[in-house]
Structure formats: structure tokens, C-alpha cells
Amino acid sequence: MAKCKPWQKCCCIFLALICAAALVCLCIATIVGEGCISGFKHAAVAADSKLCSDIGKEMLLQGGSAVDGAIAALLCTSVVNPQSMGIGGGSILAIRNKTGNVTVYNFRETVPKSFKTNLLSDCPKEFRFSTGSQWIGVPGELRGYEAVHKLYGKLPWAKLFEPTIKLARKGIPMPPYLSQIMSHSFVKMHVENSSLCEVLCNKNNVSLGKEEILKFPKLAETMETIAKQGADAFYNGKIGQDLIQDIKNAGGTLSMEDLRSFKVQVENAWTVPLGNIRMHIPPPPSGGPLLAFILGIMKDYPFTAGSPNVNEKIQMYHHYIEAVKFANGQKKSIRDPIFSDRKSANHLVDPSFINRIRKMISPNSTHENTYYNNVEPPFDNFG
């Protein structure tokens, strides 16, 4: 057999390497999703942590719907990021069904039947947390999950709770983001000087640090009951009674009647055209109309896709900042339409109003706050 020349050997090695690289790419593509190297082929979840995105994905892989995935991921988030959300809170969901209709389920908290007289005089006069039981709204989270699960759920209700019950009971190493947040001295004090310390402090009453284990054994029990008995255990049963008792002990005013009468608000999304795009937003009192107002102003300015130069960027951000200044002046229009003028925010998506405001934006200068109707603005908050 004739011997190969050195250059032929090099070519063979080079070809072999290309084949191997192609094979690796193919394997990755198959694992991640056929043909989608930088994304997924079938379904996906984007939550605030890998753990909760994975739990949502697991539900989808078991034949669950996007709603099952979302509920499971949210329940998980209540343990991984308890500073952000939980079953003591509320949500807004936009759901697009297979025919393209978008419905909004608003189960954000509501004002209880009885609340502290002159509550608003307790509002902070400077930028700080509002702590205490007087600020508690009627939690809507579980009624909302129940409503959307009845319509769109494919997996059994209890199944959605299983992974989170395990996490809450066994515990997890302090999640990196929570650990980062709790390392700030003012957050440490906030936790250590409140009833939160019962679950977020170690046995020395010091807030949990990086290497420690975060556990919610009582929450695991509560979730187990709700998984077995449904949301009624919270709104009509023992869990609700216990919760109300604790709130009363902390000086709050919530009652069983508040829990029993909580209703999920279901309505069509507002649909707003943005050129070739249709944007479906939640109606007031959500921030949807303000978002639509800003994008409505921006859509008719020219954009340089790709890599705009510095001057083009300055111009774009200037228009954007001006649009937001006008949006700040419109924040007062966002109110619960059931309890105020039903149309108080309609102008924010009205093209003639948007065009009028766009004409008020100067190309290279800005104005005093009164120009934007931004008088006595509310404090910002950081969620």
C-alpha cells in the first residue's frame, strides 16, 4: 500500500477535526432542541432562577401546558426569591390561547373591607420601606392560579406543588441572588428586626449568609394542604383562618370575609398597534397603558437598526427620555377603573393624543417638569 504524503496526512486530520466538530454541534443541537443551537425547538420557560425555569420545563415535559409551567415556576420562585413574591401576594397574567386571543387575569391584592383610618398618613415621607400589617392587601395569588389552571391546566393541581414542597421542606443552599440582596446592611436589619427572622435567620438570629440552608417547613405544610384541598383551603378553610389570626396578632385588619369574597378579574387585553406588531397589554390599573404610550410615541421616530452611530443614539435616547417624562406626568391616570372614571387611561393609547405629545418633544432640548404635567410626583419604588 502506498504511503501517504505529509500534506495528505494533514488534510485527513483537518477533515477528521471538521467532522468531529460537526458531530459535537449536531449532538448539542439534538440535546437542546432539534436544529436550534441558540434556542429551543418546542417550549421554554424564562423565570428568575435556573432552578425555577427547570421546574417549569419539567412540567412542560410531563405534558403540562404553559399555564402549568408558569404556576410551577412561580410557586418555586416563592421559595427561591421570597423577597419578590409568594402566595401571600398577587399577580397579573396575560395568556394567549391557540387562536391568538389574549386574556388578562388580574389577581393582584385588593383593599380589605376594613382598613386603618388615615392609612395614607402612614406613607413614608422619604424613600424607605413601608413595613407593618396595615399595608397588607387581600392576597389573590392562589385564587388566580386556580382560575387559570381550571381553564388551561393539563396536569393535576397537586402536581404543580410537588417540586416546591420538596424544596421548602428539605431546604436549598441560599440562592445566590437572595444571598447577594441580604448581604446589604439595610436588608439585614430589615430582616433581623422583623418576624421574617423566624425563617430567614440562623439559630443566632443573624440573617442567613451565603453557605447556609434556606428552609420553609411551615410553608411546605401549607402548600401540601393547598395541593390536596385546593385554593379553598386558603380562602375558606383552616389555612385562611390561621393566616387571619396571625395578621390580627400583628395588628392587621384582614378578615375571613375578605378572603372569601376575593374575585379574580378577567378581561380582554388592550391591543395596540406598533407598526407591523400588535402589542397586547394588561389594562389599568396595570402599567400596560404607560408602556404602550411610550412605545406609541417612539414608534414613529426613525431607527437605525444594526449599529447606530453616537449621534443617532443620542437622538434616540433623547426622544425616549422625553417620552418617559410625559409618561411620568400621566401616572395619575392609572387607577382601578372599577372604582374611578373607567376611561381615565384610554387617552394613553389614543393615536391622536400620542401624536400631539410627540409634536411637543423638542429635537435637542428639554423642559421643566410642569411642561410634562409632572407635578407632585409619587416616590419611586424599587419593587
Partner: protein, 175 residues
Amino acid sequence: TTHVSVMDQNGLVVSATSTINQLFGGAVYSPRTGIILNNELADFCKRTTTLQAGERPPSSMAPTILESKSGGVLAIGGSGGSMITTAMALSIINHLWLGMSLKDAIAAPIVFVDSENQVNFEKGFNENVRDGLKAFGHKVGNWNFFLNVVNAVGTENGCISAISDNRKLGKSAGY
């Protein structure tokens, strides 16, 4: 606050924003149930009229779904209190009109216009652009808490792109 975007293989899309309002709500823990309670009524601050039972406070939360004529869908939402609107608006502008990938659109540093109309630049924001904006007369604030987070799932080139914001150390999942 947190946001979850989900797309399943049958075309159902969910954009969900959930909250207990401020950090750990009102810092009230229920020992009998293990539940941390919200402080949502604080969102009524600056209201001049009386609250009414059953009323919901105004919110920045805006779980949104966008669809293109060609059938593309994007479920997007954010957290970070007052910064939600800005974080979402700029992510949408970057993605839809500046042609950035969803990942880059969300990762790009933002400019936040606070309630006093001062502009605040996130770390990494282009300095030349910042100088240009200052020259237009915008007052610069000293906002320290860039807790803006956007999570989104969208169709991109026949695949599903799912992005969890790295600002909160998030990671998406799918198959």
C-alpha cells in the same frame, strides 16, 4: 416582584408578573402558615382620595405579549418597581426596532427617568451618549438601585429564544 414567560409546544403563551410589592412585602411573616405577606396598599401612597374596599392599587407591572404579522410571538415582562416600564420599553425597542437579539436587547444598560424627571444611567451605559444627553439639558440623578429585570420568551428564526435576565442571575430552560 418577579416575571415568568412561558411558551408551550401547543402554542399557548403565558406572560406572568407576580409580587408581594416591596422587598419581603411589609416584612410580616405568618408563623402558623409560613406565608410572607404583601404590603400592596403602600402603592396607594400619594393618593388624595379615600381607598375603597375591593380596589386594586396602581402598578407598574405590565406582562405583555407581542405578535408580528409573520406569526412571531414575544412574551415579555419585568420587575423592579418603578423601573419596570423603562426596562421593558427599552428591551422592546432594542429588539424590535434596533434589531438586537433578545439576549442583547435585555442585557443592554438602561437609562431610567425617575419620578422627578432626572435621568439615571445604569453602569456600562455609553459615556459619549450620556455626555450628549447632558448637553441637551437633561438633569442627571444618582439612583443607586438598578434592580430592573426583564424575562422573555419569543420566537426567533424558527426557534424559541428564552432569556432570563442576568441582572438577577436568572437562567431559562426549554427543550
